[in-house]
Symmetry: C2
Subunit: 120 residues, 2 copies
Amino acid sequence: MTFRETLQCIVENVEGGIGAVIMGYDGIPIDEYIRGDAPYDMQLLAVEYATVLKEVKRTIDILKTGEMEEMSITTERTRILVRAVTEDFFIFLALDRQGNYGKGRYLLKRDVPKMQESLR
Amino acid sequence: MTFRETLQCIVENVEGGIGAVIMGYDGIPIDEYIRGDAPYDMQLLAVEYATVLKEVKRTIDILKTGEMEEMSITTERTRILVRAVTEDFFIFLALDRQGNYGKGRYLLKRDVPKMQESLR
């Protein structure tokens, strides 16, 4: 399975899935799958959240509470889920506000090991 | 109920609760409740995450996806839960890695309206 197929499988199997991107902390994507009717500029969303993640990583390094595993941010209109893949890359999933948050978390957790394999 | 009592009630009613702080985005706390045996410097944790939250707020403003409601960050050793109380203040809850994440989210959601009342 290519990265794109894995991302597509995640987005299409979670209620409210908008898009998913596998991306470096430097904001450069490896691959993405975005639904045709996505209500947001997903590239912009992912790049902006990459900046947040860099800040999160910096904070976690200071606090010495171990590596980052997962982050989620809910706003009035979206739910963002992020899961670390390697030290340099993460997967970013955007859902509608009413999307299935628990299912999204489960799918990311399930698919991260295969992505890690591919990035080795 | 004072802020401290509300915070104590949250921390003591969630498995793995370490401490909770109600705090401004400028990093200045209103009140806090921290378990005596907390394995981390909770003040430092809260202040560092306030910096992350400022970055999150900035990002959400750019993206125009509505106000921030909730954030969670999981590392190898902690789970951090944050919920917006007003435009200026948030509540910050730290749990052990194995703490009851779902219960923590529920308690924050339940208690935020009374905190909003008190801050008016």
